[in-house]
Amino acid sequence: MSLVQVEDLSVRYGARTVLSRVSLQVQPSEIITIVGPNGSGKTSLLRAIIGAVKPSQGRIVWGSGVKIGYVPQKLHIDETLPITVSRFLKLPGGIAVADIDYALAQAGVPELTKAQLSQLSGGQFQRVLLARALIGKPDFLLLDEATQGLDQRGSASFYQQIETVRQTTGCAVLMISHELHVVMSASDRVICLNGHVCCEGTPAVVASAPEYRALFGTGTGGALALYRHEHDHGHDHSDHADHCHDHTETAE
């Protein structure tokens, strides 16, 4: 049974149609990535799924009792609002201290409990947002360009963390990313969006689809090949571990 089913969804802002007749299904523990050019309706699709945008047509059908976690695009915390990381994570209510520590550890930043939210670096902040998304033990995690503003190492280690979370909790992941090669390597399924679903399938299928190449050129096909090469040789794991290490060091 699917976690969520998007049926024939259209979204319109005034006279402008940003999404037309999009359908997709999310199965338990799969990682789906949405790629597409700017203005292709990626964020609108995610916001429609969480209920922040009303669809002009179509519907979203949820499996029973599905809990979602959402990681927004970089979020601005006003300097005037004092709030510690632990208070932020406690916001949904009924959260124990142990849950907070566990979620922060899962997100890779166990040391930040007492830090002020407005003082965090970009990478730390995204990880705290991830912790906040994980704290309700979601079955379904949605990420909207969660690595915006992070450097390549930071985002690689962030996606590594997502993969780890999926392995340990078995939650499904639906994410938007513009970092095509990083993301496509980690996905089970890729959906190429440009107002409508252009093409979808495994990363390899999408990367070779003519619709995808028309949007992104052949350069990214090369990047995927490069990834495969790394993967074959098993470089990426030791590599990523290195990145993780670097990241926490710079974060402190």
Binding site: G51, G69, P72, L75, D78, T80, L81, T84, R87, L91
Partner: protein, 264 residues
């Protein structure tokens, strides 16, 4: 005890400070300062209407403040920047209110009392209205606290948690309207925004959590009311502005404290 006008004035000031503190924090966090100002300015139109239809001033100001908030939310995002829109509406409402007041014949009203407050003339009836309103605002905001805070941090995060940010915005708007209506007698329409913003801003450097900031703002507001009234009595200065001056001095003090703390 309530026979003493100074005691009644102090209680009125404390009541307004209690209502203004948690609300003022949200006004600061959400950058609604100008919205608070606009709602307060519009209240003078409410005063005029109340007098014209011989209703209670409290009811008139609440209705107009709510209407104002409604018009703003309907018109926002339709081609005007928010500050322009609020500027147009706030000052138009103030001007229309002042003109409307001049049409009311037979009733002699002291306009200055509504513009700057008349805390020394607070009656027992006023006190019960002020405290009723203050308790209502605190209960309303306390009840919606987590949801309000989540929507303030991020609307999308709120939606994902099953919270409706529009509804929380409405809660704040209602609380703001009540506070304006309650505070008119104490500080007047021109200084209501000051009671909202200054204690909250003064509390910011002292706080690590949102709750801490709301409580600190409350204490600063209460102290400002009491010390300001005392100063007005001793120095023979206008009461409302004196209260705001004390709050402003506190703001300067906590800002300097924060600056010193950073240097260490």
């Amino acid at each position: 005890m309530l026979d003493d006008f100074m005691v009644r004035a102090a209680l009125a000031g404390v009541g307004v400070a209690v209502a203004a503190a948690p609300l003022g924090c949200f006004v600061v966090w959400r950058r609604m300062a100008y919205f608070g100002d606009a709602t307060a300015h519009a209240a003078i139109l409410g005063v005029a209407l109340s007098l014209a239809f011989s209703m209670s001033v409290f009811v008139g100001t609440i209705v107009v403040a709510l209407l104002m908030a409604l018009v703003v939310s309907v018109l926002s995002g339709r081609g005007y920047a928010m500050d322009t829109l609020l500027g147009v509406l706030a000052h138009s409402a103030l001007a229309v209110g002042l003109v409307a007041v001049s049409f009311i014949s037979g009733v002699r009203i002291d306009l200055m009392a509504y513009l700057f407050g008349d805390i020394l003339a607070v009656s027992r009836g006023d006190l019960s209205v002020i405290w009723g309103g203050a308790v209502l605002v605190v209960v309303l905001i306390g009840w919606r606290w987590s949801a309000l805070l989540t929507s303030t941090l991020s609307e999308d995060l709120a939606y994902a948690s099953g919270i409706k940010p529009k509804r929380e915005q409405l809660v704040l708007t209602i609380a703001l309207a009540i506070t304006v209506a309650v505070a008119i007698k104490v500080v007047g329409v021109l200084l209501i925004a000051a009671m909202l913003i200054i204690p909250a801003a003064a509390a910011r450097p002292l706080s690590r959590t949102p709750e801490g900031m709301a409580i600190a703002a409350g204490l600063i507001g209460i102290l400002s009311a009491i010390i300001g009234l005392r100063a007005a009595y001793v120095l023979d200065t206008p009461a409302g502005p004196s209260i705001v001056c004390v709050a402003a001095i506190t703001f300067v003090a906590t800002s300097i404290l924060k600056g010193l703390g950073r240097q260490r």
